[in-house]
C-alpha cells in the first residue's frame, strides 16, 4: 500500500498540473473570448428606442384602414384570403426581397415595433445606413389617410393581431420571420427570395442558418436577432422586431436543426461518464492489490 506521504506528494503534483491547466484554459477560452467579443446590453424586447403609442387600436376599423392604405399592393395575407399580388420570382425582381405575408405578423412581431415600422420602416428596421432618399427602402412609409396617424396605425396593428393565429409552431415562426432571406439547408428550407436579387439587395448573400446555433450560440443569437447592429455594426441585416416569445421559438428551431443530436449527446454523456467511473474504481482497486506486493 502506498504510504500517506507518497500519496500526498502525488496529490500535490496533481494540484500543480490542474492549476496550470486551469490558468491556460481560463486565459484562452473565457478570458480571451470576453476580450474579442465585448459584452453587449441584453436584448430589448420593448424596443424602447421606438417609443410606445397610447392609442388603443380598433381591429374592425383597422381592417378598412389596412385595405385603404394599400398594404395588399405588395403584401399577401393568406389568413384573410388575400393572396400575394406577385409570385416570388417577380417579387424578388421588383423589390429585391419578397415582401412577407402578413398573416402571422400580429403574433410574432412586437406591436410597438409594427407601429413604428408602418410609420417609418428604415428607422424601425435600423437600416438607415443603407437606405435613403436616393435609394429608397422598398416598403413605402405610411403617411396616414388624413385622420390621426397614430390612431390609424394602432388600428392596423390591432387588425393584424386579430387575424394572427393564437399559436404558431417554431418552424413556422422561422419561415415567416427569416426564410425570405435565409436558407435552412439542413431542414430543406430555401430562401423565398431569388438568390441573385437577394445578393443585389443585401450586398451579400445572407448565410445559411443550418448550424448557426453551433457557430454563434444561444446568447449571441438572442442579442443579435433582437438588434443586429449591436453585435455587428453596419450589417445589412435589418432588425426584425420579433417578440421575446417568437424569437425564442426561432432560436429553439435553430437549435433543433443545427444541434439535432443534443438530447442524445447529453443522455449518452452521463452513461459514458458513469461507465468510466466504474472502470476507474475497478482499476484503482486492482492497482492497490498489485502494488501491495511491491511496497
Amino acid at each position: 500500500m502506498l504510504s500517506w506521504g507518497l500519496q500526498m506528494k502525488e496529490l500535490k503534483i496533481l494540484a500543480v498540473v490542474i492549476f496550470f491547466t486551469a490558468v491556460v484554459y481560463f486565459g484562452v477560452e473565457p478570458f480571451a473570448h470576453s476580450q474579442m467579443h465585448p459584452h453587449v446590453a441584453p436584448a430589448d424586447f420593448a424596443f424602447k428606442d421606438l417609443g410606445a403609442t397610447e392609442k388603443k387600436g380598433d381591429a374592425a376599423k383597422g381592417a378598412e384602414t389596412f385595405l385603404s392604405a394599400g398594404c395588399i399592393g405588395c403584401h399577401g395575407v393568406a389568413a384573410a384570403n388575400m393572396p400575394a399580388p406577385m409570385d416570388n420570382a417577380s417579387a424578388s425582381a421588383t423589390f429585391g426581397v419578397v415582401p412577407p405575408d402578413l398573416s402571422s405578423a400580429g403574433a410574432i412581431y412586437d406591436k410597438n415595433f409594427l407601429a413604428a415600422l408602418i410609420k417609418e420602416p428604415t428607422k424601425a428596421l435600423k437600416v438607415e445606413h443603407k437606405f435613403n432618399e436616393t435609394r429608397p427602402h422598398p416598403m413605402i412609409q405610411f403617411f396616414g389617410l388624413g385622420g390621426d396617424l397614430d390612431q390609424e396605425v394602432a388600428d392596423i396593428v390591432a387588425y393584424l393581431q386579430s387575424i394572427a393565429p393564437a399559436s404558431i409552431d417554431d418552424k413556422k415562426v422561422f419561415a415567416d420571420a427569416c426564410q425570405r432571406c435565409h436558407d435552412m439547408k439542413y431542414d430543406k428550407l430555401m430562401s423565398t427570395t431569388d438568390k441573385t436579387a437577394l445578393m443585389a439587395y443585401m450586398g451579400t448573400t445572407p448565410p445559411d442558418l443550418s448550424v448557426m446555433i453551433r457557430s454563434r450560440g444561444n446568447e449571441y443569437l438572442t442579442t443579435f436577432i433582437n438588434n443586429p447592429q449591436k453585435q455587428l455594426a453596419g450589417t445589412s441585416m435589418p432588425r426584425v422586431g420579433l417578440t421575446e416569445k417568437a424569437q425564442n421559438q426561432v432560436v429553439a428551431y435553430m437549435d433543433k436543426v443545427g444541434d439535432r443530436k443534443k438530447a442524445e449527446r447529453e443522455s449518452l454523456g452521463y452513461k459514458l461518464i458513469a461507465y468510466m467511473l466504474v472502470f476507474t474504481l475497478l482499476a484503482y482497486a486492482w492497482k492497490v492489490k498489485i502494488w501491495k506486493q511491491v511496497h
Binding site: K9, R265, Y284
Partner: protein, 419 residues
Amino acid sequence: MAEIRKATGFIDWLDQRLAVNKFIKVMMTEYWIPKNINFLWAMGVVLMVLFMVLIVSGIFLLMYYKPDIKLAFDSVNYTIMQEVEYGWLWRHMHGVAASVIFLVIYIHMFTGIYYGSYKKGRELIWLTGMALFGMFSAEAFSGYMLPWGQMSYWAAQVITNLFGGIPVIGEALVVWIRGDFLVADATLTRFFMLHVLLLPLVILLLIAVHFYSLRVPHVNNQEAEELDFDAEAKKYLDGKKVESKVVPFWPVFLSKDFFVVGVALTVFFYLVCFHYDFAMDPINFDPANNMKTPAHIYPEWYFLWSYEVLRGFFFDIGGIAAMDIGLAAFGFANVIFMVFPFLDRNTDHVAPAHKRPAFFIWFWVLLVDMIVLTVYGKLPPTGANAWVGFGATIVFITLFIVLPIITKMEAKCCHGGCK
C-alpha cells in the same frame, strides 16, 4: 531452423513459431520500470490511448468525409453530425482527443524537462519525442483544415503563407505547398492525404522508435537515481519485490496506468459530451468563405505560444522588417526544443529540477512564460497586449540563450552536480 515438436497447446504451438513467451517477457513481464515514479509517468500510456481513440474515431469519420471543397463542410456537419448514427460522437471524440492530446504532450514534455529525462543517454528519447511533437502538430494542422469551415480556411491561408518568408524560394514554396495560388481544392485534397495516410504512418513509425529508444537507457525516476536494472530485476524475480527498486511493465506499472487512464477518460468523455467548444471552435461551424475574413484569426490553443512568438516583434528593428524578425523568432521557437538536450551543458549528472537551484527557477520561468505567450497569442495584438507579447517573446528567447550558461555553471560550481 528451430526444432519443432508436437505442441502441447495453442500457446506452445505459437511459441515454437513466434517465441511469444519470450516476446511477452521482453515487452511486458520482464520490461523493468523504476518503482519510484509518480502519476506523471503514466502520461505516455495516456497518450497512446488517446492516439488509439484518434485512429479509431478517424476511421469511422473517414467512411463519410468527402475531401472536396464543395462537399466537405456538409459531409462533416450534416452527414456525420446529423445523419450517421453516433457520427457526432466520433467527431466530438476526434476533435476533443486532438486537443487534449496536446495538453498531455505538454505535460509529458515538461515532466521530461523537470526530471532531466532528456540527457545522459536519453537524448534519443527526447529527440524522437520532439519529432513526434512536430508530426502531431502537422497532423493537427492538416486535420483542422478538413471540415472546411471559416477557421480551417483562414488558418490554412495564414500558416501556409508563413513559408513565403523563407528567402529566395519562399514564394514558389507557398504555391508548391498549396498546389494552387490560393488555399483551394487542391490544398484540401493534399492535406487530406497527409492527415489520413502519410503523417499517421510516420507517427506510428516514430512511436515505435520512441519506445525502443527507452529500452537501453531505461525509464528515469523521481530522484533521477541511477539504477542497476539487472541487479534490481534479479531481486524482483527472486521474490524480493518490496526491496527491489524496479517493477515489471505488466502488470505492476500498467495497473497504475489503467487507473490514470480511467481518470483521464472520465474527464475526456465529460468534455466530449458537455464541454467541447474549446476543441471545436464555434467559428469553424461557419462554412469557409474566401470573401469574408474573420475578425480574429487564431490557431488552436496548442499553437498559440509559438504563434505569439511570431507576432511578438511587431515593429521593425534596425531596418529589418518586423515580419522577418518574427519569422526568425518563430523558426527559433520551433527548433529550440529539438536541441534541448544539447543546451543543457551539465551533461554528466541527472537530477530533478528541485535539486538544481538555477535550473529550477529556469524551469518555472519557462512554464509561466509559455502560458503568458499562449494566452496573449489569442488576445487581439493591440495596445498593451502587443507589448506583453513582445516581452514574453524576449524572455522566451533569452531563456534558451542562458540555459547553456546556467547549466555550465551548475556543472562547475557544484562539482559536477547539485545533488
